[in-house]
C-alpha cells in the first residue's frame, strides 16, 4: 500500500515536472518568437551602404585571370560602372549582354565596367571562383569579373540584389563619388522593348558634365546570397 502511494506520489511529481517543463517551454517559445521578430526586423533593410553623393571605397579583389584589381589601377578612367552581378540569377544573366554593351560603349568614354560577384559560395555553389572563370570565358567578358569573397565590398556599397549598378565618378582630388545607383533599363525580359535606358542616361549626363537627373532607380532582382552568420 505504502509502495503504491509512493509510486503515485512519484508519478504525480513527474507529471507536475512535466507540466512545468511544458510551461517553461511555452514561455521560451514566446520569448524566442519576439526575439525572432526583432532579428527579422533588424535585418530588414540596411540603411548603411552608399547614397548618391557619397564617396565610394576602392577595393582590391581577385579577377577571373588571377590578378588583383582596384579602381586605382585605371589611371585614365573618369569613373566606373561598378556592377554587382552573378552567374546564377536569371535576372543578372538576362542583363549580361547589356552589361557587355555598356562597357563597349562607355569604356572608350572613360567609364569602364567592373563586375563584382558577391554571392556566397556555400549558399550558391555555381557562383564559385571556378564557375566565374568559366562564365567570363564563355561570355568573353571584356571587363574584369571580381570575386568579393568576404562580401565586404557589397556590404560597404549597400548592394542588395543582382544586378545592382553603382556608377562612380572620379573627382579632381581622386575621390570616387557615387553618381548613380540602380538598374540598367526598364525591361529585363525584352531588351528590344526597352523604353528607358536609365544607366546610359546617367552616364551621358556625367560625360556632358550635367547633373544626373535620375540618380537612383529600382528594379526587381535576386537577393545577394549572404553568408549565414
Amino acid at each position: 500500500m505504502k509502495k503504491t502511494n509512493l509510486l503515485l506520489l512519484c508519478t504525480y511529481c513527474l507529471l507536475l515536472l512535466g507540466c512545468d517543463q511544458g510551461v517553461v517551454t511555452n514561455a521560451e517559445a514566446v520569448i524566442s518568437a519576439d526575439s525572432l521578430i526583432s532579428a527579422v526586423a533588424g535585418s530588414t533593410i540596411s540603411d548603411s551602404g552608399y547614397k548618391v553623393g557619397d564617396t565610394a571605397t576602392d577595393f582590391k579583389l581577385k579577377n577571373v585571370d588571377g590578378k588583383m584589381v582596384s579602381m586605382a589601377d585605371y589611371k585614365d578612367a573618369k569613373g566606373f560602372i561598378v556592377t554587382f552581378t552573378c552567374n546564377t540569377c536569371p535576372y543578372a544573366v538576362a542583363y549580361e549582354d547589356r552589361i557587355i554593351a555598356l562597357h563597349n560603349k562607355y569604356a572608350p568614354k572613360g567609364y569602364p565596367v567592373i563586375a563584382i560577384n558577391p554571392n556566397d559560395v556555400n549558399e550558391s555553389w555555381k557562383d564559385s571562383y571556378l564557375h566565374m572563370q568559366q562564365r567570363a570565358k564563355r561570355k568573353n567578358f571584356p571587363f574584369p569579373y571580381l570575386h568579393d569573397e568576404t562580401q565586404e565590398i557589397a556590404r560597404a556599397y549597400g548592394a542588395t540584389r543582382t544586378p545592382h549598378l553603382y556608377i562612380v565618378q572620379k573627382q579632381q582630388d581622386g575621390k570616387l563619388k557615387v553618381a548613380y545607383i540602380g538598374t540598367i533599363d526598364d525591361n529585363y525580359r525584352e531588351p528590344q522593348q526597352v523604353q528607358k535606358k536609365y544607366a546610359e542616361a546617367a552616364l551621358d549626363e556625367l560625360i556632358a558634365n550635367k547633373p544626373v537627373s535620375q540618380a537612383t532607380t529600382k528594379a526587381i532582382g535576386c537577393t545577394i546570397k549572404w553568408r549565414e552568420s
Binding site: Y188, K218, T223
Partner: protein
C-alpha cells in the same frame, strides 16, 4: 463516367488560377480596410530562395484558412512567362492566391508600395490596416520566423 466528370470538377474547383494584375490592384489590396491580416509575398519562379520559403506561406494559408488571414503570392515573373507560373503552381499544388504583377518597369511602382524595398526578392509584407499594423521584410524567411510574425499580427 459520372465519377470521371466529378473528378474533373473537383480538380478544376481546386486548381487555382493565376490572376494577372496591374499595380493599381496591388495598391488597392495594400489599402484595403478590412480586419484581416494580409500576408503578401513577392516571389518568382526563377528565384531560388523564394521557392525555398513558399511552402511556409502555403502552410500559413492552410493553417489559418478559417481565420481572417489571407496569403497572396505576387509573382514577379514577366507576363510572357505566365504559362511557366501556371505550370509551377499546378506542380506545387499552390492553394494560396497567386497573382502576377504585369508591370515591366519596377522603378515606377516599388517606391509607391514600399520605399525601403530595394527590389531584391524574396520580400514580404504583412498588414492589417484596420488595426494599423504594418511590417515589411526584404529577405528569405525561415518557417519559424514567418510563424512568429503571423502569431504576432493575426487578429
Amino acid at each position: 463516367m459520372v465519377a470521371t466528370l466529378l473528378c474533373f470538377t473537383c480538380f478544376y474547383a481546386q486548381a487555382q488560377q493565376v490572376k494577372v494584375i496591374k499595380f493599381d490592384e496591388l495598391q488597392k489590396l495594400r489599402k484595403s480596410n478590412t480586419d484581416t491580416l494580409y500576408v503578401v509575398n513577392f516571389w518568382a519562379t526563377w528565384c531560388g530562395p523564394c521557392i525555398k520559403e513558399l511552402p511556409y506561406f502555403e502552410a500559413v494559408n492552410k493553417q489559418y484558412k478559417d481565420q481572417p488571414v489571407r496569403v497572396v503570392l505576387v509573382s514577379m515573373d514577366a507576363v510572357q512567362d505566365l504559362k511557366k507560373v501556371k505550370a509551377f503552381m499546378q506542380k506545387r499544388k499552390l492553394a494560396s492566391d497567386v497573382w502576377l504583377l504585369n508591370e515591366t518597369d519596377a522603378n515606377t511602382w516599388i517606391d509607391k508600395l514600399e520605399p525601403k524595398w530595394s527590389g531584391a526578392i524574396p520580400a514580404t509584407m504583412l498588414f492589417n490596416n484596420k488595426r494599423k499594423q504594418y511590417y515589411f521584410v526584404e529577405k528569405e524567411l525561415k518557417a519559424n520566423e514567418l510563424q512568429a510574425l503571423i502569431k504576432r499580427f493575426k487578429p
